[in-house]
């Protein structure tokens, strides 16, 4: 055990959860077993769009081991899956919100849409029975591309969404933007595609659902980032069960990245069926099933224009986006390309006027929802690509064009609804440039050129809004839920502390970070703090983990509960020390009468609370157990600059990321080691998006072409460089930890840095545009097209 094992706040304490993960003792959902369990298999649509004219399951029903087969019509009294955010369009009307049946009813709308649920004694038997089910499909023309789906004559996916439109929504002052464009010295333009991604947490989604006849209650183990939200949506909106009768446990979860936020059809159907079959039911997705059923990410097509004056000062930004939301609205789908996207289009810049119009469109693809960054990577990609273009158009260095426009006075109200509380964008840019050795770049470029290679340097100065979210603001913007967090601190009679948090850890290390906060604030050994998360049966309430909110919101809820503990402890100590409560100070685990050496240790006060023999029972309840809900007053605004250096082989189009430097401002940091790990992981996903990952559907048949890990390029160890990372700190002004959030920064900052670097490298051979991912084929084609004077389509 290293010396730092006991050090609390600000230390790289080694993770306490690692022991179980490193010895195979972790308990992931698929590791949970129950007596008499039966297996579930979902029969899914092989077609992108088809009418179901009949389902014949007679033969399957009598196949060996089959316990039950359910289709959409059997789920009587079960509602569709809800969407948690109502967007109101520019026409003043609510978004079109077609039903999202748990099992398909009458029609399938994407490859993978679940059609039937088979329950059998073994998985083999369930699969064999599925093969015997005859579904009569009447195949319809499909549309998978968002822009195609809006064209007149496109196949109509839902009756409730004419023209496949979910909504057209806008933010910003259009008049001010038009006026600024009219007097602009220059307008820089980009047409960009934010490629569709498949999250691919390495643990596939899974569920184990059981029903107890004794108290008519259900228990669901599920791969979820937010078990309380899962329970709330499932009981109140879909199954019509009392929340009190459903316990949702998200045990160890093997990565989420957004994809495990949502209420999915599979676990919902399983909870329902566990009562009907009266057996515990288990299901785990196969990877190919994950590809066609986990919510995807991104998939925007955008045109952006920046109006600038002759000095390169930004005057106005105009953005038009088509967002593909897939076949149905997933849980938070509607707010990603709106509330979490357009509000971030100011970036780090004092652009005075911004207008953004977004059309969300249904297609015959897997639903799209939040994926690491969720709207903010899309916004950053737009801003940083167009800023790069301004630099190119005006012949300004990339750091210079950014510096000329940085926001430097705070708080700063953007023209797109947010107020940044604090930041220092020069500091992160300077440090990133130092890490990247920008000064040495010309020499490295010249050296590469001697070897026939093209080098490029790309910048991305991103901002994100984290710490979701002030509930009143979110509510005014259409949220159908609050976005606070709950924390409970239970001091046990012997002084050990159990912390119950509504945040959920699926790799983020809360069991360590939160214990550091508690140990640090109470002045006790970290070893006597236990952190409990992921169980609606044990935790008061919770909104879960997404949007880099766990520390800023969940951590603050714990701090608020700790404040209550200390306040009560002071009362108890005052009694024990026969002093006035106002004279009691708490520090280093001791309650002391100010100016004296008379004190009581935290443990003594805890014991007195539970053995109240000498205790102010007339004024104070016994016990030391406090709960707090924390609703933030503002978002937090992590920001930073990422600089990517690439080397391209013009003969093959192969792009190598030779260096990647990132300087981020996450506010105060509790555990630098964990924060750095989060940055690494985010960067890997961001580089993955820009260089490798691409979810591709066949535009005719609607079949998913990149439907396995053999076709979809997840970054491997040798695709990535060793990252150089640094931090600068401006503490968040409105939470007691001064923390902002770090989980998504890498995925937000990296893509434009990489693509800008590719464009910088390829400028030498006349290439002006490239879309993500910058695959060898694409890069090579762009080089060839530039040589022949043509432009390449996206």
């Amino acid at each position: 055990m290293g010396a730092n094992e006991t050090g609390p706040i600000g230390q790289s304490v080694r993770r306490r959860e690692d022991q179980r993960f490193l010895t195979g003792a972790g308990q992931y959902t698929d590791d949970v077993t129950m007596a008499r369990e039966a297996y579930v298999y979902f029969l899914r649509s092989p077609h992108a769009h088809a009418k179901i004219s009949g389902i014949d399951r007679e033969e399957a029903r009598t196949a060996p081991g089959v316990l039950a087969i359910y289709t959409g019509d059997d789920l009587v009294g079960v509602n569709g899956l809800p969407c948690g955010w109502l967007i109101t369009g520019t026409d003043g009307k609510p978004m079109n919100e077609p039903p999202h049946p748990v099992l398909a009813k009458g029609k399938v709308r994407h490859v993978g849409d679940p059609v039937a649920m088979i329950v059998a004694e073994s998985l083999h038997q369930a699969k064999d029975a599925a093969e015997l089910i005859v579904v009569d499909y009447e195949i319809l023309p499909a549309v998978v591309n968002g822009v195609d789906a809006l064209k007149p004559g496109a196949p109509q996916i839902h009756d409730e969404a004419p023209g496949n439109r979910c909504y057209t929504w806008a933010l910003g002052d259009k008049g001010a933007v038009d006026a600024a464009f009219a007097k602009a010295h220059h307008v820089s333009k980009v047409d960009i595609v934010n490629n569709r991604l498949v999250p691919n947490a390495i643990e596939p989604r899974a569920a184990v659902a059981s029903y107890s006849r004794a108290d008519e209650s259900y228990t669901l183990y599920v791969t979820s980032q937010n078990p309380h939200v899962e329970r709330l949506l499932m009981t109140a909106f879909v199954l019509g069960l009392p929340e009190t009768k459903v316990r949702v446990i998200a045990p160890d979860v093997g990565g989420g990245f957004g994809s495990k936020i949502y209420l999915y059809a599979e676990e919902t159907a399983m909870v329902w069926a566990s009562k009907h079959v009266n057996r515990p039911l288990r299901w785990a997705a196969e990877r190919s099933e994950s590809f066609i059923s986990d919510a995807h990410g991104r998939d925007h097509v955008t045109h952006a224009e920046m109006a600038v004056d002759k000095d390169g000062k930004f005057l106005a930004l105009r953005v038009t986006t088509t967002a593909n939301v897939g076949a149905y609205l997933s849980t938070f789908a509607s707010c990603i390309p709106t509330i979490l996207y357009a509000t971030l289009l100011a970036g780090q810049y004092a652009t005075p006027a911004i207008h953004c119009e977004v059309t969300a469109v249904f297609t015959n693809t897997v639903p799209v929802d939040a994926y690491r960054g969720a709207g903010r990577p899309e916004a950053t990609y737009v801003v940083e690509r167009v800023v790069h273009q301004v630099g190119v158009d005006l012949g300004l260095a990339q750091d210079e064009v950014r510096r000329r426009n940085f926001i430097r006075t705070f708080p700063y109200a953007t023209p797109v609804a947010l107020t940044y509380d604090i930041g220092n964008y020069d500091a992160t840019l300077d440090e990133a440039m130092r890490l990247a050795d920008v000064a040495g770049f010309p020499a490295r470029r010249a050296e590469a050129a001697k070897r026939g290679k093209l080098r490029g340097l790309g910048y991305s100065s991103y901002i994100e809004a984290c710490g979701l979210a002030p509930s009143n603001i979110a509510g005014a913007l259409g949220a159908r839920a609050g976005l606070y967090e709950a924390g409970q601190v239970r001091v046990n009679p012997t002084g050990g502390v159990t912390v119950f948090t509504g945040s959920h850890s699926h790799g983020q290390g809360h069991e360590t970070t939160f214990a550091q906060i508690v140990a640090g604030r109470l002045g006790i050994d970290i070893g006597s703090v236990e952190v409990v998360h992921g169980d609606t049966g044990r935790i008061p309430f919770g909104m879960g983990t997404y949007g880099s909110r766990s520390l800023a919101v969940g951590g603050t809820a714990i701090v608020k509960a700790l404040d209550k503990i200390v306040a009560k402890g002071k009362k108890i100590a005052a009694h024990l020390l026969e002093a006035a409560e106002t004279d009691i100070e708490f520090a280093d685990g001791k309650f002391t009468v100010a100016g004296t050496d008379r004190s009581k240790a935290f443990g003594e006060v805890a014991l007195a609370a539970y053995v109240p023999h000498n205790y102010p029972l007339d004024k104070l309840e016994p016990g030391l157990d406090e709960t707090a809900f924390y609703d933030p007053t503002n978002f937090t605004y992590p920001a930073g600059t990422h600089i990517c250096e690439v080397e391209i082989d013009p003969e093959t189009g192969q792009t190598s990321v030779v260096a990647f430097s990132a300087c981020d401002d996450f506010g105060n940091v509790i555990n630098p080691m964990i924060v750095e790990g989060q940055v690494h992981g985010g960067l890997a996903q961001g580089i993955g998006q820009a260089l490798l990952e691409h979810c591709v559907y066949d535009r005719q048949s609607g079949q998913l072409l990149s439907g396995s890990l053999m076709d979809y390029a997840l970054p491997r160890a040798d695709d990535l460089p060793t990252f150089k990372v640094g931090t600068k700190v401006t503490p968040c002004t409105h939470n007691p930890l001064g923390a902002k959030g770090c989980g998504e920064a890498g995925a937000i900052g990296a893509p434009p840095a990489l693509i800008n670097a590719v464009l910088d490298a390829l400028a030498a051979v006349g290439v002006k545009d490239i879309q993500m991912p910058a695959s060898p084929h694409r890069v090579w084609q762009a080089i060839q097209a530039a040589k022949s004077g043509a432009t390449v389509a996206a």
């Binding site: 290293g2 790289s12 080694r14 993770r15 959860e17 690692d18 022991q19 179980r20 993960f21 490193l22 010895t23 195979g24 003792a25 972790g26 308990q27 992931y28 698929d30 590791d31 077993t33 083999h124 691919n200 947490a201 390495i202 643990e203 596939p204 160890d252 979860v253 093997g254 990565g255 990245f257 785990a284 196969e286 990877r287 190919s288 699926h506 790799g507 983020q508 290390g509 080691m673 964990i674 750095e676 790990g677 690494h680 992981g681 985010g682 960067l683 890997a684 996903q685 396995s708 890990l709 053999m710 997840l714 970054p715 491997r716 160890a717 040798d718 990535l720 060793t722 990252f723 890498g746």
Partner: protein, 157 residues
Amino acid sequence: MSIPLSLSVNGKAVTADVDERTLLVEFLRHDLALTGTHVGCDTAQCGACTVLVDGRAIKSCNVLAAQVAGAKITTIEGLAGADGTLHPMQAAFKECHGLQCGFCTPGMVLGALDLVAHHPHADERTIREALEGNFCRCTGYQNIVKAVQTGAAAMAK
């Protein structure tokens, strides 16, 4: 059809009757309740299921239990001491923060042991190339590479 099977798992002799279609990973997870071996894919790409068979790292989702009859299998559960003391490679992963969600971790650690057995002094490039068959979606690999180097050095002592 059921077939008899004997092999050694984490130093213990195991005999069982298994369906001939049973994959090694299914046998480990279901029959022996060794759930530290994970399943992350269906195309033998991810490496979450990696175990050592006679000292060699193999993907247990891609081999039938019957194929390893008589072999010595080591899973993640077989590395730490009886008192919970971590194997130097496990300790290095903890020290270097080479894991986040932990799902890829057992496969990474066992893959690393195979790598170190063949290349005790592997450099970063070699380690990155050797880890090609193991996906991690959380860490960006940097700390895994560091952990493998640190673990290898500790094992050489």
